[in-house]
Symmetry: C2
Subunit: 393 residues, 2 copies
């Protein structure tokens, strides 16, 4: 990545994570930013989510993220501690606390020790830089059970000039549409009008972060935010520039979403479930998600043991209108099921090998309408159980 | 169990199961029966489900059940084969095929070899008996991945005379409300009018089989059926006899439902999730099910590592109206969460031991309405993954 001009990043260990890995990330912007943000739909929202949702209407000057503690379900202390964090960053950057975007991820229900963050903010701000290393530290600091840090970078040409869009995300367990235990932060130096950026980001989210599932869980803290310069907007409406920026943003979101699924807890296989020719797009998505979240389907992928009846059972369980005797199923372009029964082309050889690849394309053709939808997921392994049977200790 | 006078049972191996365990069960009734039955809500229904649903309006003379093959997703062959099965039993018992109730459970999408069943029916009918051994063979013949056969017996006194209610069920994987991969057959010598028996059975199902979940799956074949003599009904309306019979039937259904959960694939712990003081009963049930089906909750139970934030996250994820700062959580009578934050009474000692018992009572008090609902479930273990990664082979 080339040097970022407006955004300065840093990351450090401030004492929240038991394993002493980086657990606090800071972004300071040299210019006033706007943010388009999407938050968890969980009825139980962490304090930082409530605060950032409010602040997202304002100019943003800095972003602070801690891992190791979700600051969720801490009652009034949660809000007090989150405010202390925002205030310490505001002081250091000469901003108001209403101009700070804050996020937390990690264990729910343990009080956040805000003093650890307060003590670390000075050093974090001092070392914040536009070099790649600063951004990489930031990306590392937001990880929880992730096994690798997730970043992506795109260039966009607008009116002959080169702009950057780049971002990082964390995921792993609790990943399910409508913002999982997922944080995603995307930055660009393209100035955009907030209203049109909100639309652009919402469309990109729908096709990426809101189309992935690891285990059907959704957390109290999920946030995806897109930061861009607030002044002299270059994009104010749809058109060529909008399209170019959206294409890059969309690619970037999909890159990050795929990385989250590939890094699903204990996952060894990547699966795209596509439901074609449904009556409605929401019906297609509901079926794709029911299959993608089915423990019997996810364990079958692990076992590489084709038992397509489990796919049929999940399709029917979704309770979406369909023609129950018309369903075709393809795995990696091999036809498995034709008109809701075993295809004549399904040989023993196909049965034994079709689930061997690490990337599985499952296509369910309902042959009753014209709407399609894809969902990305991964398999369920013993390691998922092992990781989650002992997350706290 | 005392000898059953009207019902004759038998079970045998007819060649459908790879492990040569019993795979075909027959019940012949000496008197004409009526049946109250509930079938899967899956949009993809196995052929025997479609046929038995139709026949359940008629007098029933016999019930035949095979394991080892679900006869689901076999197109027109599925119906042809199911009809052959019904016809062979009809011939042997001197009934019409419309008086036979048939069920299948096992692998989806492999053609059922009806000739194996046809060849076995003569012998099955010959050995069918009212002795306990006949019923036990029948109960064994309906098992798939179950590790033990599930039976329960109750006596009922009506007008001073003793009547029997007894039944058997199979479950294991794919258990989720609205009839999981679950078969349950219940028999009584109390003559009941069909209309009132339908009501009685529906109420009992709601509190038992429709309140259990192993893995959130629902199959193509699920059926629960309650058989009783058709003539000279003793119970025609609500009243003392209705209440006595319903109490016994309800107990029996709950016995069988509990056995199914305790025998969940790989399960080592039994969990009752109760949601109290919700605005609506359906809301209480939705939250209880979201928690009970949460892989993060189910793996936490396995790890005995209290991470109550996962319970809170699942409660919020259910998208049911509630007061997000008022939630109390109890585990086995110990208070864990008070007003949506860690209870002051939650000590280190409680944290470390509260999940040790094999039976866990989880109570979530929403403190916002007056409706309650319980759901029974089990934990997720490595063994669930192992069993389901290789079910076919």
């Amino acid at each position: 990545m080339e040097k970022t001009n407006n955004f300065l990043f840093s990351g450090k260990y401030c004492g929240l994570k038991k394993n002493k890995a980086l657990d606090l990330g800071l972004m300071i912007s040299k210019v006033p930013l706007r943010v388009s943000a999407v938050f968890t739909k969980n009825k139980i929202k962490a304090a930082p989510v409530v605060i950032s949702k409010k602040n997202s209407k304002n100019i943003i000057k800095a972003l602070i993220v801690n891992s190791g503690n979700a600051n969720a379900c801490n009652g009034k202390y949660g809000f007090e501690d989150a405010k202390r964090v925002a205030l310490s960053v505001a002081k250091k950057t000469g901003a108001d606390e209403s101009n700070i975007f804050i996020c937390s991820t990690g264990l729910i229900g343990e009080r956040l020790d805000a003093s650890k963050i307060e003590r670390a903010v000075n050093e974090l701000a001092e070392y914040a830089s536009g070099e790649e290393s600063g951004f990489n530290d930031f990306a590392e600091a937001i990880m929880t059970t992730d096994t690798f840090s997730k970043t992506s970078f795109k260039d966009v040409l607008l009116n002959g000039a080169k702009y950057k869009i780049f971002g990082t995300a964390k995921g792993s367990g609790m990943i399910m549409p409508n913002m999982a235990t997922m944080l995603a932060f995307i930055f660009t130096d393209i100035p955009i009008e907030k209203e049109i950026a909100d639309e652009m980001f919402k469309e990109c989210i729908g096709e990426s972060f809101n189309s992935i599932t690891v285990d059907g869980e959704t957390s109290t803290n999920d946030t995806a935010a897109f930061f861009y310069p607030a002044e002299n907007p270059l994009i104010k409406k749809r058109g060529a520039n909008y399209n170019a920026a959206k294409a890059a943003l969309s690619d970037l979101c999909l890159d990050l979403a795929k990385m989250i699924v590939k890094d699903g807890e204990g996952a060894t296989k990547f699966v795209r479930v596509t439901v074609k020719n449904a009556y409605t797009e929401s019906g297609a998505k509901k079926i794709a998600l029911t299959v993608a979240n089915s423990p019997l389907f996810k364990t079958m992928i692990t076992g590489e043991d084709l038992n397509w009846g489990r796919i049929m059972a999940a399709v029917g369980r979704a309770s979406v209108p369909l023609k129950s005797d018309k369903i075709d199923i393809y795995i990696n372009d091999k036809i498995i099921v034709e008109n809701s029964a075993a295809s004549k082309k399904l040989t023993k050889a196909i049965e034994e090998t079709v689930l061997s690849p690490d990337e599985i394309e499952l296509t369910i053709d309902l042959k009753c309408g014209k709407k399609s939808r894809s969902v990305l997921t991964c398999n369920f392994t013993r390691e998922y159980i092992d990781i989650n049977a002992s997350y706290r200790s």
